[in-house]
């Protein structure tokens, strides 16, 4: 009996997972088709860029600055043992451009804007606003989904750039004013060791992360059922799934972009 129940549960969970993956694939294909076959709504795109980007700027700047500051102060302890304090600048900059900048910005924006995208679309879904748009012959993907996905994909690299700059600045402040290191050396070493591909690679990663959280966010919101509880569940799942996918894809993107 226990064995039958166990097998049943595995079967049910497999079917559920396959169904969800199938639905997600259909949603993605429909979004891709809409993107390439319909006119882009620029007004909606710019509105979403402002909503997602400008409104997330504060938290991204704050996160980036303190990440750079912590990185500088923690690395100093180790680097001091080898007499390599002069390399604090490059290590802070490399970490921020390649990893911390894109990942932290993506996770923060997922928490702030990804959840907002899901909650908004989920509320529209359960209050029949999406059905109403369909009955008015409005392409709901063109109207609701594409502007959000495109805006996130465009705006996250820009936010990441802010996170990188603020992080490096945060590291500089710690190095010069707390650790009493040479500020000029901090900047010169960064200029010597940081390549353009480090920054571009980080920005490409950010664009992919923006695409991931917005695709998951719009999908979870668009397909929400079941009232207020459904909105809450979808929002939570959207943030959790997006964050996991960002962290997993980060590994593969690091290999793909930087080839190490």
């Amino acid at each position: 009996m226990f064995l039958i129940n166990f097998v049943n549960k595995i079967g049910e969970s497999t079917i559920r997972t396959c169904t969800a993956l199938g639905e997600f694939s259909v949603f993605f294909l429909e979004a891709a088709k809409t993107l390439f076959t319909t006119r882009l709504r620029f007004k909606k795109l710019f509105y979403q860029m402002e909503h997602i980007g400008v409104n997330s700027l504060n938290i991204v700047i704050l996160t980036g600055t303190f990440a750079g500051a912590v990185l500088a102060i923690q690395s100093y302890t180790g680097f001091k043992r080898f007499g390599a304090e002069g390399y604090l600048g490059p290590i802070v900059a490399l970490s921020l451009t390649r990893e911390l900048g894109p990942v932290l910005a993506a996770l923060m924006v997922t928490g702030r804007a990804g959840s907002s995208i899901t909650a908004e679309l989920a509320t529209m879904s359960i209050t029949e606003q999406i059905d109403a748009l369909r009955t008015l012959c409005i392409n709901t993907f063109q109207y609701l989904v594409i502007p959000r996905i495109l805006a996130s994909t465009i705006i996250l690299p820009l936010l990441t750039l802010f996170a990188m700059i603020c992080g490096i600045a945060g590291g500089y402040v710690i190095c010069v004013y707390v650790l009493s290191l040479n500020g000029e050396q901090y900047i010169t070493e960064i200029q010597s060791y940081i390549e353009l591909r480090d920054i571009v690679g980080g920005l490409i990663k950010a664009a992919v992360f923006g695409f991931i959280f917005s695709l998951v966010g719009t999908y979870k919101g668009y397909t929400t059922r079941g009232g207020a509880r459904g909105v809450g569940l979808s929002t939570t799942k959207s943030v959790v799934i997006s964050s996991i996918l960002i962290l997993i894809s980060n590994y593969f993107l690091a290999i793909l972009i930087f080839g190490e």
């Binding site: 209050t127 606003q129 059905d131 109403a132 008015l136 012959c137």
Partner: protein, 255 residues
């Protein structure tokens, strides 16, 4: 004419409509009544094509609309206007933007949209100054009328009303019913109304009763009170005894 033939809708294990067969006459108002949770709204959404039926056919002017392509479904939507139970107005848009949304999407000139919105607002007896308001600033009755105006802007041939008077006071209910009737007479549209409200019988042409996933009664609205059909009799008299099963146990007073 709209014909529903052996329509069945099932969600997972739950059968909502078993076998619905119904003819909805053109240019007439047909009211579908039934208990809560009987699948009336699901039936209405199947008619417009928002929900696909599990089996059966829906014929709109002789054309089967159950297996349409995406483009054909979009064209099919053009024939219909759907008034949602809670109006389903877009919260982030003003009344003007809500009513004119389908025209904005077609890139119609602002002046023309304004003129049309103004005209539709007067049709549903709303003053021009509500245009700038947001849905959250409107009363329930006003929201329903804005929802109706939004539907009318597309000049539909068929109007589907999903419980248009739910949550409204008796006076507003009567106003909405009169409005539905006047639009029916003025534009000669086909109206299908889902309702619990027996007051709507005064304005309807036909009544259909949905129970246990089937149409148990269909007849002229004028003669419905004289019908000996036990289902419609029990529904009209609001009796707990009869063929319609109730969720609440019978009391001696009911008998």
């Amino acid at each position: 004419m709209i014909e529903l033939i052996n329509l069945k809708k099932q969600f997972d294990d739950k059968v909502v409509t078993k076998d619905v067969t119904l003819k909805i006459n053109s240019n007439k108002m047909t009211v579908i009544i039934g208990r809560s949770g009987e699948g009336k709204s699901v039936l209405l959404k199947q008619i417009i094509g928002l929900i696909p039926p599990t089996s059966g056919k829906i014929l709109v002017d002789g054309v089967d609309t159950t297996h349409l392509t995406r483009q054909e479904r979009l064209e099919n939507f053009h024939k219909f206007g759907y008034v949602f139970q809670f109006a389903a107005l877009l919260d982030s848009l003003t009344v003007f933007e809500n009513i004119g949304i389908s025209l904005f999407e077609k890139n119609v000139e602002h002046e023309k949209i304004y003129k049309q919105v103004k005209e539709k607002l007067s049709l549903v007896d709303l003053p021009e100054d509500v245009m700038k308001k947001y849905p959250s600033e409107l009363s329930g009755g006003m929201r329903k009328r804005v929802g109706l105006a939004r539907t009318l802007i597309r000049d539909p041939q068929v109007l589907l009303y999903d419980e248009p008077t739910t949550g409204l006071d008796p006076i507003t209910t009567k106003i909405i019913h009169k409005l539905m009737k006047s639009l029916q007479d003025k534009f000669k549209v086909t109206s299908v109304v889902i309702s619990h409200d027996l007051e709507v019988f005064n304005y309807a042409d036909y009544i259909a009763l949905l129970y246990d996933g089937e149409i148990k009664y269909f007849g002229d609205a004028k003669t419905v009170h004289k019908s000996d059909n036990p289902y419609i009799q029990q529904f009209i008299s609001a009796s707990t005894t009869g063929p319609i099963q109730t969720e609440i146990p019978h009391t001696s007073e009911d008998k």
